[in-house]
Symmetry: C2
Subunit: 333 residues, 2 copies
């Protein structure tokens, strides 16, 4: 197949534009979104939403840091980038609307790579209606893909600075699966543990759950993709509270428990990339929201040093960890 | 000074947040923009604009491709990134509102680098009021910085698909200065030609001119940062017209003309990165708009093969070029 340098930027933009237009025909557009001019001009144009609030977020995947071509198909990279961005929208309780995508590409890549990448993005955006309205293409030896998503909401969105002393702390689903999936991808036995691998390659953004939380009166939530401890520490810091976590209450995939995974608690507490949400609220409300879900109450919000976490083991002793999550600039990980 | 890996992502976000908050106190905020939650959550939150149209664009600078540390201070990188994004907003005739910034950073960089980069961005955003509302920080061996800017307008924005047969084609200022400035930076004599170097390092986004064009009834404009010929070809292609250009009419800096610059016409027609606008419209209106400006009428919109350009020399003969501008994926340049 052709190399990117053969089709050039203009040719590639036309391929992408065609792909996006074809997907419109099949897919539902985001609610109330009136696009007037999409991919191909200096900027996209649309009519502003009638929603009361807009939200805006961005997330990036860099080859060699966030993914490797050995373990990811380009479709998976596309899905994961879309899901990572949608997860931030979900953490606000908002609805996604539109996306810009920047491709940093080496010129000797095959055009098929862009095709496959967009297949993955469009697959995710067809499940969680989001309209690609533009982007940018630049040359880069190290491949990176950046997405920014606009979202909207009629209620003041969920935020991380709204945890109240007395709230319980909950998560929306199993943690540690993505980190376990990555470890499996790097070793063997992929078939047996496909469901863990899938969480790493094709995480599910909690758009529906985020919307439910916001509509039910929850105020405080966060995307815990950097790891439970690191992200709950941010909630505590921004809300001016301390958080106590019962490690034994954190929901974990049966697959991990059944296999006597070594040090699995580290994956669960600090692995990250599960793209579940953590949230806080009154116990009764939280319990009702978690009914029939894989989520669970895992701790409480306490008075204390802002951002400080106390992690208690199943027998009530305090646990200590070196790594508290994925710091994107630390060299420890 | 500290390395990025020492302060970590969370520390760096706090440094950036503080810098942005300090700049708010000094600087004017964008018209009618009500930010409710800025840097530091999963997404920023604001009240949607009452403007009739929103626009959204993104642009990226990659080290080794778009800038080198030998020739750019980090402040210049910051300014140029902001100006490049604002130039896309200017090409729509819109007002900038808010920006997200993604930093792809090597961990062994000094924290001062981020400080200086933001100084340059904030300097540009204080001249052209734009609010930084969030972003992302990722590890990357090759440094890159991506920005996306939201803008707004009460009139349907300028676009590249609206050139009409019979229109004249104009540009808003001198072309070739940036490419000449880069050539100077790579050689010597910087002092003598500082004004050309400045166009390369600190281009001026044509926000004011873009707004004037839109308010005066112009429909068709484009940011010609990829080079005049490449970008006018896009106007022709999207509008379904042919464009004739009189090379001798393109405005050029006296500095270039005085020094008998070798092959200067190539810099002028294909150099790019001047961040001027090209636009089309009725001759009388265009002539009035260009009064007392460095801009000039340089050609006409004709019936013909969509995207085809005819470049005429000062004596009326047709000129031919190999390179028609900056293709971000081509290896020719």
């Amino acid at each position: 197949m052709s190399k990117l340098e053969d089709v050039g930027e203009f040719g590639l933009i036309n391929i992408i534009r065609q792909k996006i237009e074809n997907s419109h025909l099949k897919n539902q557009l985001p609610m109330g979104f009136e696009l007037l001019l999409g991919v191909g001009d200096d900027a996209a144009i649309w009519k502003p939403s009638k929603a009361d609030y807009q939200v805006h977020t961005t997330d990036t995947l860099v080859e060699g840091i966030h993914f490797s071509r050995d373990t990811f198909a380009w479709q998976d990279v596309g899905w994961k980038l879309a899901a990572a961005n949608l997860s931030d929208i979900a953490a606000m309780g908002a609805d996604p609307v539109s996306a810009l995508i920047t491709l940093g590409l080496a010129t000797d890549l095959d055009v098929s790579m862009v095709d496959e990448l967009y297949d993955g993005i469009l697959e995710c955006f067809s499940e969680y209606p989001t309209q690609i309205i533009g982007g940018d293409i630049v040359k880069s030896d190290q491949v990176f893909i950046t997405m920014s998503i606009l979202g909207q909401s009629n209620t003041f969105p969920l935020r991380r600075n709204a945890a109240q002393v007395g709230d319980v702390v909950a998560v929306t689903g199993n943690l540690g699966s993505s980190a376990a999936g990555l470890a499996i991808l790097r070793s063997q036995d992929k078939d047996i543990f496909q469901e863990l691998v899938d969480v790493h390659l094709r995480p599910i953004p909690q758009i529906t759950m985020g919307r439910l939380l916001l509509n039910s009166g929850i105020k405080c939530a966060i995307d815990i993709s950097d790891g439970l401890l690191a992200d709950l520490s941010k909630v505590g810091y921004e809300s001016g509270v301390e958080i106590h976590i019962h490690a034994g209450c954190v929901p974990v995939s049966k697959r991990i428990l059944e296999t006597n995974w070594p040090d699995y608690m580290e994956l669960v507490l600090s692995g990250g990339e599960d793209y579940q949400l953590a949230f806080t609220g009154e116990e009764e409300l939280v319990r009702a929201l978690l009914k029939n879900s894989a989520g669970a109450i895992i701790g409480e919000v306490k008075k204390g040093k802002p951002g400080h976490l106390k992690v208690l083991s199943e027998i009530g002793t305090e646990m200590h960890f070196d790594k508290t999550g994925w710091d994107h600039l630390s060299t420890q990980k």
